[in-house]
């Protein structure tokens, strides 16, 4: 049982979700309510990780993180070390490949709020921030929660991109999914089985909890 890998995965999942929450609310809301030129392109880019093979996606991320790329150089200049094969690099990759899982459910959740409810919020004198906090977020909450749990579970399970971008550096980029692969390669079936069971349990609990909470919230909203 590789606890270091397990906690690394958890840390990665929590940070990914924490960073994607504001991004998803902002972008999901924007896509739900605004019409602008190139909206289809933005939606396409957001959905891209769903259809691109993880290795292809990982390859491009690796190239763009490299010390010769503008992004990689910028990172190097600001933080003094490279982005590829670090936990930060893994986190950035994780945020990007989770974009569709965060944004699409949130977009749907905001779209489901009737126009007149949002307009009524304005006519009640609620500022855009107050309307977001007191009307939109409470109503979109089940969708937002679903999005966050999906992202978390997906982060724990992602393999291809993590391997491409992070390598398999223990304590830095070796996540539980990679540790399982590692153990299988080493014929350590017992450890692989334990870790697989743990991942299965965490994922199942997370997904079930989403269904449970979204139904309860749904009932509360009537």
């Amino acid at each position: 049982m590789d606890w270091a890998a397990f906690w690394l995965s958890m840390r990665l999942g929590v940070l990914t979700v924490a960073i994607l929450l504001p991004i998803g609310v902002w972008l999901g809301r924007l896509l739900a309510y605004r019409e602008f030129r190139g909206k289809e392109i933005v939606e396409g880019l957001v959905a891209l990780p769903l259809v691109l093979p993880p290795t292809v996606f990982g390859y491009y991320l690796l190239v763009s993180f490299g010390a010769t790329s503008p992004v990689g150089q910028l990172w190097q200049n600001v933080f003094g070390h490279q982005l590829a094969f670090t936990f930060e690099g893994l986190l950035v990759a994780s945020i990007i490949f989770n974009l569709p899982f965060a944004i699409q459910p949130m977009q749907r959740a905001f779209e489901a709020i009737p126009d007149d409810v949002r307009e009524a919020a304005q006519c009640c004198g609620l500022s855009p921030w107050q309307a977001l906090l007191r009307v939109e977020l409470p109503l979109a909450w089940p969708g937002i929660l679903t999005a966050l749990v999906l992202c978390f579970a997906h982060t724990l399970g992602e393999f291809g991109i993590v391997l491409m971008v992070g390598g398999s550096i223990p304590g830095e980029t070796k996540t539980i999914a990679i540790a399982i692969y590692d153990r299988v390669q080493a014929f350590d079936d017992a450890s692989a089985a334990k870790m697989s069971a743990l991942l299965l349990a965490v994922s199942l609990i997370a997904i079930t909890a989403t269904f449970y909470f979204s139904r309860r919230i749904g009932r509360r909203l009537g």
Binding site: P114, D116, A121, C123, G125, L139, L221, G222
Partner: protein, 373 residues
């Protein structure tokens, strides 16, 4: 200037060319067919829609002025708005919905005020219900209470009665009529229902394609539409062409030539002899001649024709009459059911009618471009 004044203009996508005013305490109804732009007018006042050109002032304060580059955002305008499907916040109780519109009050005062307002709309005891636990009529009352919660300078009602059944609607009419006495702000109500406007409004604007065709007292507009277009909008069907032939007699009468028929109307000296006009007769203002027993009244604007079809609706019979010598024009008349039965009226029967002179209303002839209608 006290009250609301709005000037709205744009070519598209929703054409608007509107000037309207509403005094404090006045209830102004915007009436028109769906798609006429009446809701857009309301939304422009609320700041939910921005026409190309707009000037909206309330009690002298500028809410919108495209000329001066001023647009106060909707949430900073003290308006109360009741939406067609209410737009209640489903996650909040009735009281919560009302309190949500009280950001201008101190938090400690909101609860009591919400209870007061809900009592005003007869929802005492239902403060803690969620919208989903309320009937349609109760939801509408919450929406009204919430609109008033902001202490609005203008109250806007967008088809507020269209989503409830008829019995509830009747009760809500009475409640609004009663509550209005306590309200001193301009009230603008959008409706497609003329009867609603007649019952509730002090003044009414007929709206078509974003333009106000006529403004005035509802009963006045119903009786005396200013144009053929307005007449059609208020549901008048018996609209015919004619020409002013003479002003004669003592007391003076005006004679209209209607394709060879002579019609007498009250004296209308404002129409010069020879003017082409349109005129209308309300369907209830044609009197059936009794068969085989002529009376003196029969001499008043007599016409004859054949009943094309007739249908009984409660106490009246609606008959469509093809007038003798007319190919296409039909006259619709509402006859008392007992009169229709006594005279054994049926499709194909030949009848005589008198058009009551006092009820004939003369309007300008439509412009050539409008004739296709």
């Amino acid at each position: 200037m006290e009250g609301l004044k709005a000037i709205l203009r744009q070519d598209g996508p929703i054409p608007l060319d509107t000037i309207l005013e509403c005094a404090p305490g006045e209830l102004l109804a915007l009436v028109g067919p769906s798609g006429s732009g009446k809701s857009t007018i309301l939304r422009s006042i609320a700041g939910l829609y921005s026409p190309q050109e707009a000037e909206v002032t309330v009690n002298g304060k500028v809410w919108t002025s495209t000329a001066a580059g001023i647009t106060v955002p909707a949430w900073r305008r003290p308006v109360g708005m009741v939406f067609q499907s209410y737009g209640l916040f489903p996650h909040l109780t009735a009281a919560g919905n009302v309190e949500a519109a009280m950001s201008h009050l101190e938090p400690t005062k909101r609860g009591r005020r919400a209870v007061e307002l809900l009592a005003l709309v007869n929802l005492k005891g239902l403060e803690h219900r969620k919208p989903a636990e309320l009937s349609g009529g109760q939801q509408q009352r919450v929406a009204v209470a919430r609109a008033l919660a902001r202490d609005p300078k203008v109250l806007l009602l967008d088809e507020p009665f269209s989503a409830v059944d008829k019995v509830t609607r009747g009760r809500l009419y009475r409640e609004l009529a009663c509550m209005r006495r306590q309200l001193d702000m301009p009230i603008v109500m959008v409706t497609h229902d003329l009867d609603e406007a007649i019952m509730l409004a002090d003044r009414m604007c007929l709206v078509q394609r974003g333009k106000i065709l006529q403004a005035g007292r509802p009963d006045e507009i119903m009786r005396r539409p200013a144009s053929v277009e307005a007449a059609r909008l208020v549901g008048q069907r018996n609209i015919f062409p004619g020409r002013i032939e003479a002003h004669a007699g003592d007391p003076a009468r005006t004679i209209i030539d209607w394709r060879g028929r002579r019609l007498e109307t009250p004296h209308l000296p404002q129409w010069p002899i020879g003017t082409d006009v349109s005129w209308l007769i309300p369907p209830g203002k044609a009197v059936l001649h009794r068969r085989g027993r002529a009376s003196r009244g029969d001499a008043e604007n007599p016409v004859t024709g054949t009943i094309e079809n007739q249908i009984a609706l409660g106490d009246i019979v609606i008959a469509t009459v093809r007038l003798d010598g007319e190919e296409t024009r039909l006259l619709t008349v509402h006859l008392p059911r007992h009169a229709a039965e006594r005279n054994r009226l049926a499709s194909g029967e030949h009848i005589g009618l008198s058009l009551i002179a006092e009820a004939i209303h003369v309007m300008p002839a439509p412009l050539l471009t409008d004739r296709r209608q």
